[in-house]
Amino acid sequence: MNDLILPQGKKANRLKTSSMNNKMVNDYWTDVFNAKAEGKLVCWYEGVAINPLMQAADIRWVHGEAWSALLAARNNEQPAQTAAEHRGYMKELCSYARTHIGCGVLAQNRGVEASGSSFSDALGAGLLGERIPAPDMFISAYPYCSTGQQWDEMLFRLFGKKIPIFNISVPWVWGNKPDAMYLGGSEFNEAKQYMVKQIRACTDWIAQQTGKKYNWDKLSEIMSYTKTAGRLRVEAMELCKAKPAPASFFDWTTSLAPVNFIPGGPAIVDYFEKTKAEIVQRIADNEGGIPQEKYRLFWDGIMNWNKIGWLANKFAAYDANMVAGRYTHMGFWHEFESIDVENPLEGMAVNYLVCPINLSAPLMIEQIIKLCKHYEIEGVVLHAARTCRAFSNPQFLIADAVQKRLGLPVAMIEGDMVDESFYKDEIVNSRVEAMLESIEARKRVGIAA
């Protein structure tokens, strides 16, 4: 038989600059593994990208989600997840947290600091999860998600309540006051000032941990690179309005590391300069992010890191270009313009407040609608991550809004961030194919999105 929309071996045309990202990520984690040997303090943290605060104080950092995502993307997550489950953390708990906590268990069991095999040897042996150095401090700065806010507390207890912890409380952007608007209004401004106050207090606390005066000049320098990288990334993504779109959501997911946890410096600017140049060249060559762009889709929800290549190729095989997404386009220094590099705390606060899960549904939906219009989206895939209710909470509202206001068909699929067992391919296929059939039918009768 010939199933006409069954994926037929077409693969995503991933950006070539992605290979630079892999090297940066590997080098970064190698530096983390070597932290203790080099006499560096190590901070574990989750949530928003507060790493510039640590970088300015010459502390090395382990971002829980980034580390868990890396393990999943490289098929090394299982030992950590098993260790956490054996410690009593059930499968329904956020898989990022479960994996990271499992690494904490493994680090405790190891009893010595990270040392020994190289990154690649550990990766090949499936033992990467054991390699991160134990923390010298925790900073908790988690927006919206209650598990995230408790995750560091769990780690604090796991390490015997002996490791200092600092908590930054990120207020939710409710948008309830009459003057509320995206990035503005009295409520947002109050939240911003509250964040600035806490971030400043956090720098004082960091100075206490290091015993050194906090280096504000260094923070400005880091934020200068971060702002430039953020701008270049947004500009490159916006160029994907072109048809065919020269890159996909999956490319932008692969490119999150430089704006999430890689040290702010010339390398991240260089990365996005090259990425943007590749995008510009692809547009000139009429080269798409997939071999044949027939449908333009939007991805709502967090990434499924176990399946990033798989999903990129799956949608490519359907001739469906996942042009944009909430995860990639509504976070990670995307509000770069708000950063004043001479006085960066306020701009940092703004970016932390408007991360992809911290906006109330009405504010969030307006941003999603804008993106769908900008990128001329024809259908929305909503990835409901089984263990990330923070991301999936508003998804029925988002689905309803894009259906009613833009006439877009939607497909809700289930999966997870780093727990592969929650993903079932045939169930995903049925929903995605039904949505594509629906888009196709609309095109035939001349109903534009």
């Binding site: 006409l4 044949q292 409901a384 068909p409 939607v410 049925s430 039904a434 059939e437 039918a441 035939r444």
Partner: protein, 305 residues
Amino acid sequence: MKSYVMGIDFGSTTTKTVILDLKGKMVASCVASKGSISAEGVQVSMDGAFAQAGIAQKDIARTVSTGYGRRMIDVADQSYTEITCHARGAIAMFPEARLVIDIGGQDSKVIAVSGDGLVQQFAMNDRCAAGTGKFLEALARAVQVPVEAMGALAMSSTEKLTVSNMCATFAETEVISLLAEGKSKPDVLGAVHAAIASRTAGLVARVGNRNPIVMTGGVAKNHAAVHYIEQALSAKMLIAPDPQIAGALGAALFALDEVAKPSAAMMDEEDGADEAMSSARGCATQPCKTAAKLPANERPLLGPM
């Protein structure tokens, strides 16, 4: 001469086959239960339909498959998802319907259909079997009544009880607890059917309630399920004499469209897969004017799509 088209719905628990002649008249339908995604079930279903129609495979001009096992059917020329085929089949049965509720063995789906037959929106159950035929089967076992008898028993319930609609396994535990508390089987089964109705109402809310509603799938043959769903939606549902064959009927109607448009759908599919798909969908989404005329006293099965 190849004078017939065939639709096969290869589902999780049953396989349904529908054969139409080239005028769109149904000449055979057969439902076979041979276990999960069973190749034997497909053969039994096809053989049953061939016997009923008095024809053989060589008489079939085109076959379209649907259902979870749709890609496993060698004789199929084309396949579409259950959403597209159930909508097509249900609207062919009841052209006035604007909402299709299909509860099959493995999944439940609600499909909003526009006046011109387009699938507007759809919602499906998540990975859990709660709210599907499997849910009823599991709970029939827990209550120790045959699945065919559970509907009638549930209709005689007198006490309102509650069973979880979120997880089939939890629901089974709850059912056993209720029986251990001395609750009657009819009351427990009433709660089971109320749970499936509540789950279905949730899916309806996601796509937006609209009327008339047609219910398809094996569960539509269960009077208690229909009763509780109608109660939950405050609406009467349209139900065909054989609601299980809606998907296969929809698939057969697509096959008929494609036979009527040979330039598009029956071209060399190795060379023109995408064009064939587009063209086939095009016919599928509009009133099909290409099928042969029926005698005045026969109702065509082609819906408004």
